[in-house]
């Protein structure tokens, strides 16, 4: 087999292999762990690196050719009524997979030194690999029930890892909160899947999307799906698990947990824009469902906008009063989730039907306002920026905790003298997360502000205000933790171990790269992804 054939083989089977290889790695980890600690850590990194390689291979193919790849498990085609499970990878899935793979590789490299002192590392790496596999499964799948299964894999593995520090009561409490809320959310989703199955006798997303009629049962299923996924993504009424879980988990897990949360958010995007695409993103007047539902589309949009505003406000305001560094970053992460949801809400709220008179004939036309595409693109772009920025900040917080054993901001100070690299990384994360111009966060937030301003200026002002609040919070953190006189208790602090610096360096480099060339990035990666999520007809025709 020549190299080219091997590449083609890998590319053809990559949707399956991206999930199967971390799974196989997870199953092998307990056996490899019998040999040696270092061999096992290297094995985990190798597995994730190979998976990332496959992800980039796949994403490169999909984003450059702007195609949709499907992969049927077990046979060449899925049968005439689609009975087999199939993976459907479009631009948006590929984009999310890139984010997930960056976070995964940073987390696994980071864990090498960060977890050195702890027992139970065999199982730790097993669970991390399982979580990564679950994340990729959620992102790539094109089947409703398969989505649910991977959702559960992710949340069970995440729960066990959040409660990793079992000697601390709060960590166990955070794990319990997480598993309760995520399993209720998952059961809502399963109930919705049952409703959809009972109506259309199908589990494939594209098949359901093709035949959806937006009957009353469909509306119930939509509400259940949105509320279940919102619980898992940490949107406001059910956000209380998120700061606890992010704050109490080991930092290497938190990074991957961000990916898992965003995979849930991806599910929300997928359900709203693809499965219910005939309702929410179609502008085809001949489908009689479209005209009648503009009011409900707009009301769903405004509902999401309100949730987004609440999420941003609560996140930013609660971040102000935290004294624990990791919890503070966790509330900032909550606020960032609000921005992503805001773009979706603006997109849905801007759907209009208008009567147009051309040459004496009046026709009804359904359209989205011009700014709504910008809103969704900004939202999609912000997913990546948020993952990288918040991930970097959590890694820095974990590094500080590892060397000082302190999380409270009151007991930290003057770290800049001894931890030069960490300080630089924190500064990069700080500027990025608060949307300062040279960094990546600015580009995406600007898109969201612009489009929101055209829908309703007040919302845009609130969003900008939250961003300023976040900047203030992080400047305060920077001042109190890194500047100022050296505290006597922190005299012997050394720079963080190398593996931590490598992991932080990877993410920081990507942040700076995106910040320097945002247009290159937006044109080649983000816009194809956003176009893919907006084009529900293409998603359907790729399968049927």
């Amino acid at each position: 087999m020549s190299i080219e054939e091997l590449f083609n083989f890998l590319l053809d089977h990559s949707p399956a292999l991206i999930v199967a290889i971390p799974l196989l790695g997870a199953f092998l980890t307990p056996l490899v762990g019998k040999i040696n600690d270092k061999v096992r850590n290297a094995f985990a990194i190798l597995v994730v690196a190979f998976t990332s390689f496959l992800v980039f291979l796949l994403a490169n193919d999909i984003l450059t050719n702007n195609t949709i790849r499907t992969y049927v498990f077990g046979a060449e085609n899925a049968g005439s009524p689609i009975v087999r499970i199939l993976f459907e990878v479009d631009g948006f899935s590929a984009y999310m997979a890139i984010i997930a793979s960056i976070l995964a590789i940073a987390g696994v490299i980071y864990a090498w030194s960060h977890m050195k002192e702890h027992t139970g590392q065999d199982k730790f790496y097993t669970l991390v690999l399982l979580m990564i596999a679950g994340m990729f499964g959620m992102i790539l799948t094109g089947d409703m029930f398969n989505f649910f299964v991977f959702l559960e894999i992710t949340s069970i593995a995440a729960c066990a890892l959040i409660a990793f520090y079992t000697n601390k009561g709060k960590a166990v409490d955070a794990g319990f909160k997480y598993i309760v809320i995520s399993s209720i959310g998952a059961l809502f989703i399963l109930f919705a899947i049952g409703i959809l199955y009972s109506q259309y006798n199908a589990l494939n997303m594209a098949v359901i999307a093709d035949s959806i009629t937006f009957s009353f049962l469909d509306k119930i299923a939509l509400v259940l799906l949105i509320s279940g996924l919102a619980m898992k993504a940490g949107i406001v009424p059910m956000h209380m698990w998120l700061p606890d879980a992010y704050g109490r988990a080991p930092a290497s897990v938190t990074v991957i947990l961000i990916g898992a949360t965003q995979a849930s958010l991806y599910g929300l995007f997928r359900m709203v824009f693809s499965v219910y695409g005939n309702v929410f993103s179609s502008i085809d007047v001949t489908k009689d469902t479209v005209i009648n539902t503009i009011n409900s589309v707009n009301s769903v949009g405004w509902m999401l906008i309100i949730l987004a505003i609440l999420t941003m406000l609560i996140g930013a305001l609660m971040a102000l009063k935290q004294s624990n560094l990791k919890r503070l970053i966790a509330f900032a992460a909550l606020a960032e989730v609000g921005y992503m949801l805001l773009g979706v809400g603006v997109r849905l709220a801007s759907k209009v039907s208008q009567d147009i008179t051309i040459a004496g004939e009046t026709t009804t036309q359904v359209a989205f306002q011009g700014y709504s595409a910008t809103a969704l693109t900004g939202s999609v772009f912000h997913i990546m920026n948020d993952a990288l920025d918040i991930g970097l900040l959590f890694l820095v917080a974990g590094a500080i905790y590892l060397v000082t054993k302190e999380t409270s901001l009151n007991k930290l100070g003057g770290l800049a003298r001894n931890m030069k690299y960490t300080t630089v990384f924190f500064l990069i994360g700080l500027f990025a997360v608060s949307g300062m111009p040279p960094m990546n966060g600015f580009a995406s937030k600007l898109m969201i502000y612009q489009s929101t301003f055209q829908l309703n200026p007040i919302i845009a002002i609130v969003a900008i205000l939250c961003s300023i609040l976040l900047l203030a919070v992080f400047v305060k953190v920077f001042h109190s933790a890194f500047l100022g006189p050296k505290l006597p208790s922190l005299k012997d602090v050394k720079e963080a171990p190398k593996s931590l610096l490598i992991a932080m360096g990877i993410i920081a480099c990507i942040i700076i790269f995106i910040g320097l060339f945002p247009n290159l990035f937006v044109e080649n990666i983000v816009t194809p992804a956003a176009n893919a999520i907006m084009d529900s007809a293409k998603y359907i025709t790729a399968v049927i």
């Binding site: 196989l24 307990p30 046979a75």
Partner: protein
């Protein structure tokens, strides 16, 4: 949890093999009658849990450690995903392909079922049943064993 009385122990030892054989039968005939790897595995695991209850977790942990159980579980899982990976290499070259069915090179499980309870049918399905069965037996038993052992108050502990 310390062990129970002699009567319970004796009855458990008598019931254990019977339940186990029943569970293994369900696993082996998964593709012909109702049941399969998960269901049979749950039956066998419950028989193991019966032994655990009768003899106590400390005694059971002395006989078999959770580390060796964990290896068995990994083997079951690797067997399952390995069968799926074999589908990439043999047959129609698709992940999860049923490559044993309808071929003459390997004379196992290659026939098509006709409702006549022929056990030599259904390709990789019986093999997957065994792999999943092993996994479920060991997995459920490990969960019960570890939880029972960890919540036992050992001697000298408060």
């Amino acid at each position: 949890m310390s062990g129970m009385s002699r009567i319970v122990k004796t009855m458990a030892s008598i019931t254990f093999p019977l339940t186990m054989i029943y569970g293994l039968y369900i696993i082996a005939h998964g593709h012909l009658t109702s049941g399969g790897g998960f269901q049979g595995g749950a039956v066998v695991a419950s028989s193991c849990a019966l032994i655990l209850v009768a003899y106590g977790s400390v005694w059971t942990m002395g006989k078999i450690k959770e580390k060796s159980l964990s290896v068995f579980e990994s083997l079951g899982a690797i067997g399952f995903i390995g069968l799926a990976f074999f589908g990439l290499i043999f047959g129609a070259n698709y992940f999860f392909n049923n490559f044993l069915l309808k071929q003459d090179i390997i004379p196992f499980f290659n026939a098509v079922g006709t409702g006549a309870s022929n056990i030599n049918t259904a390709g990789i399905i019986p093999l997957m049943n065994f792999a999943v069965g092993l996994k479920v037996i060991v997995g459920l038993f490990t969960i019960v064993l570890v939880m029972a052992y960890a919540t036992t108050k050992l001697k000298g502990e408060k």
